[in-house]
């Protein structure tokens, strides 16, 4: 009898803050995936933002706002401003980055350049009719918002780490996870904020 109580006391703490479903889920994930190419199983480990945004209640607007704020602050703190102080590159190269949706899958080579996949979710240059609508339209981005430093810094930050502004933003954190190089991000900046870019005509 005493022995049984002892076992209950030893096992009980394992379940605190972690339901049986959670344990089964973790086991299922661990047993269901394998590393392939550059996509290794450690990609399944979540950071704070990913954990928070995996709860359907959070996505339905019922998440803890304090936790969202902590996540946003932590992400904001990771953003690096361009070392040279140069925010703007070449819009033509930026258009190529925006067009390409390649990169970071298990069929991609580690040395191959990634794309930004921007048109997957955004309208950008109106002459491209094949665009997605998961994100807002970026047509006339600079023309509508102006070209001031505040807009420039905000846009740089948003491309680098969108979760600095919205904990559960659907946009990949291009700088945070090194999905794009600094130069590529400068080029995308120009596509959005160079007054000569077709986006601002």
């Amino acid at each position: 009898m005493k022995k049984n109580y002892l076992i209950v006391f030893l096992i009980l703490p394992l379940f605190v803050g972690c339901s049986i479903t959670d344990q089964k889920f973790d086991k299922m994930m661990k047993n269901s995936f394998q590393s392939k190419g550059i996509a290794s199983v450690d990609r399944l480990n979540q950071d704070d933002a990913q954990k928070y945004c995996s709860d359907p209640a959070t996505l339905a607007g019922k998440g803890d706002p304090n936790r969202a704020e902590v996540i946003q602050k932590a992400n904001m703190a990771t953003i690096k401003q361009p070392a040279s102080g140069k925010y703007m590159g070449d819009w033509k190269s930026g258009e190529r980055v925006a067009q390409s949706g390649r990169g970071a899958t298990w069929t991609d080579k580690p040395e191959a350049a990634n794309g930004g996949g921007c048109y997957n979710c955004h309208q950008i240059n109106k002459s491209e009719v094949s665009y997605g609508n998961l994100g807002p339209s970026l047509w006339n981005y600079g023309k509508l918002r102006g070209y001031g430093q505040e807009v420039v810094t905000y846009t740089w930050n948003r491309i680098n780490n969108s979760k600095a502004y919205n904990a559960c933003s659907n946009m990949p954190r291009y700088g945070h996870f090194n999905l794009l190089t600094e130069k590529q991000m400068q080029d995308v900046m120009a596509l959005l904020l160079d007054p000569n870019s077709p986006v601002n005509q």
Binding site: T21, K24, F25, M28, M29, N31, S32, F33, Q34, S35, K36, A39, S40, V41, R43, L44, N45, Q46, A49, Q50, C53, S54, D55, P56, L59, A104, T105, W106, T107, Y119, N120, C121, V129, S130, Y131, G132, N133, L134, K163, N170, P172, R173, F177, L179
Partner: protein
């Protein structure tokens, strides 16, 4: 062993027409794609996979020299008609919730003596897994037009649904994606590709009910396992193991959400 010939000429002509019509009508490109799908729907090359699958179902094969005709896919040994509309479901003999593909593999192992491990470690469109895909096409075609009616009455079915839901919303990887990133809101697109909202009945019926399908762009028949594998690739996740519990759990989540909808597979996709 059996070659699956696609009607490539027809597809080439259709693609040409698609380009021409899209150029003319840039206002509603998705409507044009629908027209193109309807245009080639009469000649869905998955017919060829179905015929090959029927042959494989009836043929004595494997170390035990047996056919699959005694395989219980969920409605009793040998019953094929309508069975895809009730899968995934719990099976007592394997003590597991199985989707059609895992069930066919279970039967190939238990009845014919093939190694499930070899099929799991294989690749899509190759070796014994290619036979699984053909059998899947045959079975699925025999549920076309039927009402999706997947049970959660067994505790393990209920549990699989809950695990699948959790997985559907599980964000990870270098792009922070989950299934829900693209499939939890109505009216969304990636480029011009419509994204069904798989969290509600209408979208789930559209998504779950359209696969497996013949994919024109790759010229191959894609089972649901293949479809999920490519979803996870684009999600920037590691590779889901063939017929692993996660793939079955996510299938369960979609299938149960789709209940009441029509099974339209084998479908035809871009």
């Amino acid at each position: 062993m059996i070659k699956y010939h696609a009607n490539k000429a027809l597809i080439a002509i259709s693609l040409f027409l698609l380009h021409a019509t899209v150029a003319q009508a840039q206002q509603a490109p998705t409507a044009e794609i629908e027209k193109y799908r309807a245009m080639i729907a009469d000649g869905n090359p998955s017919d060829l996979y179905e015929m090959a699958g029927e042959e494989l179902w009836k043929k004595k094969m494997g170390p035990k020299n047996a056919s699959l005709e005694k395989c219980d896919l969920g409605m009793g040994p040998g019953i094929i008609k309508g069975v895809y509309a009730v899968l995934p479901k719990y099976f007592k003999d394997t003590d597991r919730v199985e989707d059609l593909e895992s069930r066919v593999v279970s039967c190939m192992e238990s009845l014919q003596g093939f190694s499930a491990k070899d099929i799991i470690n294989g690749s899509f469109g190759k070796g014994k897994r290619k036979d699984v895909e053909a059998v899947v096409a045959y079975v699925v075609a025999n549920s076309k037009g039927m009402t999706i009616n997947v049970s959660v009455s067994h505790p393990k079915e209920k549990e699989m649904y809950e695990l699948g839901k959790k997985s559907f919303f599980y964000q990870a990887g270098p792009m922070d994606f989950s299934c829900a990133s693209c499939h939890a809101d109505p009216g969304k697109r990636i480029r011009l590709q419509d994204l069904p909202n798989l969290t509600e009945q209408k979208g789930a019926a559209l998504g779950w009910g359209a696969w497996p399908a013949y994919r024109v762009s790759s010229g191959t028949f894609w089972t649901m396992q293949y479809r999920l594998n490519d979803c996870y690739r684009q999600q920037r996740f590691p590779e889901p193991i063939y017929i692993s519990d996660d793939t079955i759990a996510v299938s369960m989540y979609m299938a149960v959400n789709a209940n009441g909808g029509k099974m339209a597979a084998p479908g035809l996709k871009r």
